[in-house]
Amino acid sequence: MDNEMKAQPKCFRQGELIFIPCTVTKEQREFLTRGGRDMGRNIREGEVSGHIHAINAGTLIELPQATGGYYQDGARFEIPRGEMFLTSDHQIKITHPEHDTLPLDHGDYVIRVQREYDETRDRQVLD
């Protein structure tokens, strides 16, 4: 694999959630936090189990529309509608009753939900 083509930074995963570090400007961060829906502490509740992935710090935003930004190495990324944006000045801990706690450094993250194939359409993984 050509290392120069590698656009993705090292990411983190807890269950069906993938945390992708990204860099946004101050203006972009303001735009994202103002334009999206503040989700409080709960990232996602399991539709089957009812278990909740939660944050202990930072601001969690659900994006109402597709938007973009840049990864730490300068590559551009797109945040599709429905994905989430997490920003924090302090270290973040992601908790879940079944999974080990995931510590994340302070910074900005796009949160993506793992998807599953459906021959009639794509759907997100339910836990």
Binding site: K10, Q14, E98, Q114
Partner: protein, 390 residues
């Protein structure tokens, strides 16, 4: 030659024929040049520089009673439902008008479940704003008006002794699309022909359930003896669960009618091979999620086409009956690919369905992370590397 306009309020648009003339439109609306709207008080004024336009007459409902008469260059006259002259304007020579509509009521003799009464339509210009049926003697069967709570959530049709003949839960569709004569239920003759052919008399058909619209709604229509003839609910535009159609029970899953046996079967009673052979892709997807991918690979095994021994991941392939989803769609799937993964925290195995094009465990895993995999080499450059997983 023809002059028309569009985009105005209901019934304010023009549609006139005239011969060999020229029309100047006073254009005050700068937003959209494809339509001209010249606004002048309550009327829309168009000036005819030359030409020959004579006028038109609107009649009340299907009757012969005049509601409005326009004679260009002469007069505009309007009458109420009782025939009283309520407007008498002079129209200047060389001017045509599209006049703002007004609310009026139209009444027709009709029957509901064989019982005579009066159907009253509230109309604004040509569009329906409300519909009411009252039996002889004054009891109201239903009275539904656009914009009210009942029009947004549903209403009931009552018998003369206040028993429920029919109920509709959902948003009532007041648009005239797909309906004859702009009525909610429409009027039918005994042989089922449309009301327009019978001069506004006929019976109301409560089985016309397309009066309710939206993603989710429910209907129940009984016969005269209050036995349910048609009932069920729609979720996400699809019939679901038990329906009664012409007194008979029909079971639906995701809008597809299935046998009672299949509908009521518990996941452990279903044969995975039978599920994979189902002739409807949507139904098959629903049953696959019902019985679980774990049970499918437990029972049918499948072929392991790639494995990641470090993580304990397997990519498994199973043959699938090809079912075309619709005529415009891509080629149907002939294999089902399942990625068996292990949770790093709990050690439990679980299964994710991935596209049939997947060939490698890592490729399939990356697909579940949202990475495009049309080309394995290109996709590899975009792979998400995980520093930590819990």
């Amino acid at each position: 030659m023809r002059v028309t306009s569009g985009g105005s309020k209901p019934a304010t648009n023009l549609y006139h024929h005239f011969s060999n003339g020229k029309i100047t439109i006073q254009d005050n609306d700068k937003r959209d040049k494809s339509y001209y709207r010249a606004y002048h008080g309550n009327t829309y004024v168009y000036t005819v520089e030359s030409g020959d336009i004579t006028g038109y007459t609107e009649y009340l409902g299907q009757g012969k009673r005049r509601l409005r008469e326009v004679k260009y260059g002469e007069s505009l006259k309007e009458w109420n439902e009782k025939g009283k002259l309520i407007t008498d304007h002079l129209i200047k020579a060389g001017t045509i008008l599209a006049i703002k509509p007004r609310v009026h009521f139209e009444k027709y003799p009709a029957t509901l479940y064989g019982q005579a009464g009066t159907l009253t339509l509230k109309k604004y210009g040509g569009s329906l704003r409300g519909e009411r049926f009252s039996y002889k003697g004054g009891r109201v069967a239903y009275d539904i008006r656009r914009g009210t709570k009942a029009a947004k959530t549903g209403f009931e049709v009552l018998s003369p002794d206040k028993k429920v003949y029919a109920r509709y839960a959902g948003e009532i569709d007041f648009t005239a699309r797909g309906r004859r004569g702009g009525l909610l239920f429409g009027l039918k003759t005994k042989d089922g022909s449309s009301w327009e052919e019978i001069e506004g008399t006929g019976y109301i058909d409560p089985e016309k359930i397309n009066i309710v619209r939206g993603l989710d709604y429910a209907v129940e229509v009984k016969d005269k003896d209050l036995k349910t003839k048609l009932a069920g609910q729609v979720k996400n535009h699809q019939r679901v669960d038990k329906w009664i159609e012409d007194y008979k029970e029909v079971f639906y899953i995701l809008g597809v009618a299935v046998s009672s046996k299949l509908y009521h079967a518990k996941p452990e009673e279903l044969d995975p091979q039978e599920i994979l052979d189902l002739p409807n892709a949507q139904l098959r997807a629903s049953f696959i999620s019902k019985i679980g991918l774990e049970r499918i690979i437990q029972k049918l095994k499948g072929q392991v086409i790639d494995t990641d021994p470090d993580r304990g991941y397997d990519l498994i392939s199973l043959p699938l009956k090809a079912v075309k989803i619709n005529q415009w769609d891509r080629e149907p799937d002939t294999t089902m690919k399942i990625l068996k993964v292990r949770c790093p925290s709990t050690g439990a195995f679980y299964c994710l369905r991935v596209p049939p094009a997947m060939e490698k465990v890592e490729q399939a895993r990356q697909w579940t992370f949202g990475q495009d995999t049309r080309d394995i080499k290109e996709a590899a450059a975009q792979y998400i590397e995980l520093e930590r997983e819990t």
